[in-house]
Symmetry: D2
Subunit: 424 residues, 4 copies
């Protein structure tokens, strides 16, 4: 959370922006689309819309007003995701079995919560406002995270349907051009600092700022492309155990992976399912929907490695945060322009989350938030890997250089890709 | 199928009746309710509505008109249930992942099929009509079967929801009265005949009519009630291995069964989820939602047995088909009236399907229908048990004395109950 | 059990014969071979040797002498198979995790039990002897059953080992000769009787003798051979869903079956693992190690069916029990001699258990034995099919015309084969 | 591997020592004990004895002599553990299904390999010796690792047996005394170096030596004891989700954990299964057989944390390697003597492997060994945690301050315990 002093109007505007954007994301859907859960990792759109509202109830409204009553006493049970200190919750893999509340009722629930938050903004004492405003801010960031999941989850739901529904038609991209060669950008050995320190917003897991010693390293100037990744496939990459971590090759064999998620070979050409339909894979777009295991194996194949998260953060220090975010409305990574300079880092933000070689553990001196909000990040610090930089489904208002995203090494349904590193 | 000569108007009226009734059953649902599949045995309502339409396409319209085109080329893939000879089909346990076609599109699909069938009735030559009318009749019976599944499946879907949705509010039943004592009705040893023979409709698995020798036997004059079954529970029935088949007690232990499906003990009283809400169990209603294993264990506990299907059929010979069917609109078994005669068989039809001791195998001399329709019944003749008599979710127009329903011995989500038998 | 009067010397001789034969069967094994359990259905040889001894303790010695003490208080827990009324028992799939008692200790345990039974024979009063002798007789038959399992289980254990151990070297069979054509032997419609009635030994599930009406039927004069079954394989039998029961084709697909158990194609020739090593399949030997599903599909493919168990029993009425049993020491089905008469039934006994079309359920009027022995047969009467006639691993002293063996329809590790039937 | 010059006699002596010690560890076993695999992580003793011999064949003898022939052509298949570059290998979870080769044959195999290695020592040219001696050294260390597994695996096998076999009777320990209070030993912030650098032996994963910045930290002067851990249990530790990582509490719930592995509460007292039998838990012994999840939750409960592996290594710098190793013949952690100084670190070596907070990943600049030996460590660098210090089943000749052991966070069957750390 931030430690700045909040301004009522500004914060409420941010609140309403994020609330409206969730509904904008949902607007192309049919009612039926809101209900489905295609795998345990995925939640129905309806659930995301309700859960992000519940968050404001559980962590702001009920703290602010002890007499607060939700629309329905069971919503606390249905829409709590994983906060054990807030009480029992509905079993995650069964979210797709719940047809009620209906979509209409969920929208009414959202409106109810919005009104109550509006009351909080207009009626709270300064003392109360200062106490709860930082949690409203967390709720805003929390909903931004769920907006990204709404897009990746509906992509997964639609991908299961042989009718191949289209979330949003998009004009064909003009990707015939060349893209710059990948070059190594080098960074010297040294004692660096990473982590969040100023009074702007961050999650607890980005703190504290701390010293870290790094040897010299190089990062690739751009992301790995589909064309480059297809070379790995065609070189037998998925069959050659020596390129993989042991857990990785077992996953490949058990799951029958032969290419990134959503890829299918038709008439000897790779196609993939996107939010704007089923299309041929474009050579120069960044490869996407690969797991950590695939990213790691690709790097080993080409005699490189993945960056450590500290390396990524150090390298990002002088960059401006710009790129292909959700605001561009493309919902897919895009090719790097042919006139990008190949001597500096490109595509560090947006397009795809970049797998790092760093397991997700706490920074030295890490403290969780008090109470149930302490469960937000800390309890997931095992068996996951850090990703950096945001994706085409992330809001530019959500990303930070210190932002630590994390997923299990076999996850593929997020927009996840590969940037290479090497020692020298 | 029937071997009678069909009359165009009558058959078309039956067709439209059954088509309309499916939509009447669906009418209390919200759009979201049509989408959910709560377990692999259950199908979404949307799927039932589409599949029963596809049946007419695959087995009538496409045979009648070689140029017939469905609304969408993928519907044949999505809405084929298990007819391998009609081509590839969508994986059954994944029916709940398919949000499109939408409910509205499914209703349009139904209308499209209805219109095409109407064309068949109005335009077909006599020769064509005579050829395809018997299959229309099968399709009508097929849709009746799916109407029963629509009710049992939506009950299962709703039961998963902590909000306990109500399908249809019903006036409270007046069940304070007494019910008649259960008496044994006896039948002599003899060489009998069972099976279907005349030219009215039946499924292939009810034929041929054949001789069977039966020793003398007794059937209970009425169904086992909730009160009687609770005595079994309270006597430790679910814990006493010696009362159970070996597969049965393993199922009990693996599944944690302690009572019939949908039952829950609250404040020391048994309640159950019904299509009209969550209610206290009524003592005199027939026990329902028990598996074959539970029916068999209950019978052993009380020193009786389940009837063989032939015994049930012989005993039904002189009875009129009447009872609590779907047409009564109760969707739950009801108590036997206090003034029923206890000396003759009651509740043989409707209320609950009655588990028999007979594994579902073919009758001697059984022949399947030619082509894909031969898959309708014959290929399920292993690991299932026969049930007789229809239930409160069956249409009276669908049941016959020779009707053989069948489910695996651990199934509970149909309206299934217990009638006792003994040798003498 | 028998209802005859037992003669002490004769029964004790039978007892010692069966006890010695178990040890003779084990004698070719290394100590390590006694320990392994290759799948849940299989038990280690060590366990069979101990369990068949425990049976005499639990059902004879402890009843005869209330002060009876076993060698170790835990043996009752370790070596009870499934008799819930005798107390808790060790989990079946974990039998292969138990290295102690050692093989030497198990042999001592057997000797201990033998001595105590010898004491029973020498010391019991006539009243006691008459009471317990029938249970000794059951124990003898019980051990015969386990002798068959010892052979089928060690075959399964050895088949898992890439070293392909040989249980017993056998001289090559001379099978170049012809075998008789299969002919249909016909039986008229009629009211027959099946089941056991006289005072000789039978299991409870063979009783009571009862009337049954059968239509006219035909049985094939001999078993289906490997050559005939290979034609089914080569005709795409395992890929053609229309030939299979629904449960059958799912099993084929889930398990990847392409041929009988133990078969492997090498250099385009079918080989199989046998107790005398890994060998080429012989054309004229009866096909073996097929499931009910495969037997049923084969029959459908060739436009026949499997016999009902009553048909098999009626057909066996005039035959002498003779054939290739365990006493022949071949441990594999053998080719029918070229000079057999093709007009009468051959191979009805021995060689392979013959799958019938009859689910394993009780006969009308069936009563289980009192107490824990009532668990011997009755509680398995669901989801299994009857097999008839004994196999090359059965003792001729164990088989009867009324003998009902039973296994689940997907079982293959017993010596199981196919005899065809048809209606006319 | 070492980079020193090897001396033939010394290395051969080390070789024979380690080979003999494996057989000494096996000597208390019955032949049956060698065969069993109690879970996929466990291997049969017989397999360990053969696999450690195969290692010398695959990596020394076959490289040294192109005409080398093993005792049996299938041994390369049966006894390869996971080296994909050496060829296909037998499926790990099926090691317990293989009764042959017999124990006697495995001992002959060991002797055969010993003789061939002796030939290598006596007959190799200096050039050949220098080339292969470093791999012999790896093989020696490899066999030491398997000796530890032989003990932990046979403990697991015996623990499954209700007879509770005793591996080795031991005199009762005198543990009535007090043990020193746990104190915090502090270390200043600084730029340190960790990893292996000199020319003595290490595994590749301990290299390269590299700089790392650490904040100030404290380590507890001794291990957590059973008494202290029981307080955690009695405080509801296993039920309080807020103390656990999310993966941890799911594991607890799925697995039904209520205490460390091998613990059982009898008459309200905790007992545990040990290699010298089933005994009451001793209060002052280090707690053992806990997973990373339990170690982490215990630390959170007591408001501390686990040490990072770098912290552990820095703290060990000035210590002498001494403690309760396998050479003491106790096979269980022992209580700290009452007269230990509580101001310095005790129990850093031996007794139990100490879980660290560090995921097992490569050091910066890590290079694997060339060829199949490169699979020894590197490919396991995901989803595992580092443990340090060796245990009561480790040889003192095997441990190093830089030694990185690693296991998945839910593993418990090794001798694993807890040392606490905190920031200040």
């Amino acid at each position: 959370m931030s430690t700045i002093k909040f301004e009522r109007n500004t914060l409420f505007e941010q609140f309403m922006d994020v609330r409206n954007f969730s509904e904008q994301i949902s607007s192309p859907l049919s009612i039926e689309d809101y209900v489905v859960q295609s795998m345990p990792d995925v939640s129905p759109t309806k659930w995301h819309l309700a859960h992000s509202s519940w968050f404001f109830e559980a962590f702001v409204l009920e703290k602010f007003d002890v007499n607060y009553k939700s629309v329905h006493p069971q919503y606390n049970y249905l829409f709590n995701s994983y906060y054990t200190q807030v009480g029992e919750r509905h079993c995650r893999p069964k979210r797709g079995l719940i047809s009620r509340p209906t979509v209409e009722q969920v929208y009414k629930y959202r409106e109810y919560v919005n009104n109550k938050i509006e009351d909080f903004f207009s009626d709270s004492s300064n003392k109360d406002f200062e106490k709860h405003a930082p949690v409203v801010e967390i709720g805003i960031h929390h909903e931004r995270q769920h907006q990204e999941l709404m897009l990746t989850d509906i992509k997964n739901v639609f991908s299961e349907n042989p009718l191949k529904p289209v979330y949003m038609e998009l004009p064909a991209s003009s990707s015939n051009g060349k893209i710059p060669t990948a070059n190594w950008v080098s960074y010297p050995e040294g004692l660096y600092e990473i982590g969040h320190a100023d009074n702007s917003f961050s999650y607890d897991n980005e703190m504290p700022k701390h010293k870290i010693f790094l040897g010299s390293f190089n990062l690739s100037s751009r992301l790995v492309t589909n064309k480059e990744y297809i070379e790995f496939i065609e070189d037998g990459g998925y069959k050659r155990a020596e390129l993989w971590l042991s857990d990785g090759i077992y996953t490949v064999e058990d799951s029958g992976w032969e290419a990134p998620l959503y890829w299918e070979k038709i008439d000897n050409k790779w196609h993939h399912f996107t939010l704007s339909g089923f299309k041929e894979v474009e050579a120069n777009q960044p490869v996407c929907h690969v797991s950590f295991y695939e990213a790691d194996a690709y790097a080993r194949w080409i005699d490189a490695r993945l960056p450590a998260e500290a390396e990524w953060e150090i390298a990002s220090a002088d960059l401006i945060i710009e790129g292909n975010f959700v605001e561009s409305g493309v919902y897919n990574p895009i090719s790097l322009g042919g006139n990008s300079k190949s001597s500096s880092l490109a595509q560090m933000f947006g397009d795809v989350w970049e797998w790092t070689s760093s397991p997700y553990i706490c920074y030295p001196g890490y403290k969780t938030l008090p109470g149930a909000l302490g469960e937000y990040n800390g309890k997931f610090m095992s068996n996951q890997m850090v990703l950096r930089g945001g994706s085409c489904a992330t809001s530019i208002s959500h990303i930070r250089k210190t932002y630590r995203n994390f997923f299990p090494p076999d996850s593929r349904w997020q927009f996840m890709g590969i940037r290479l590193a090497r020692d020298e």
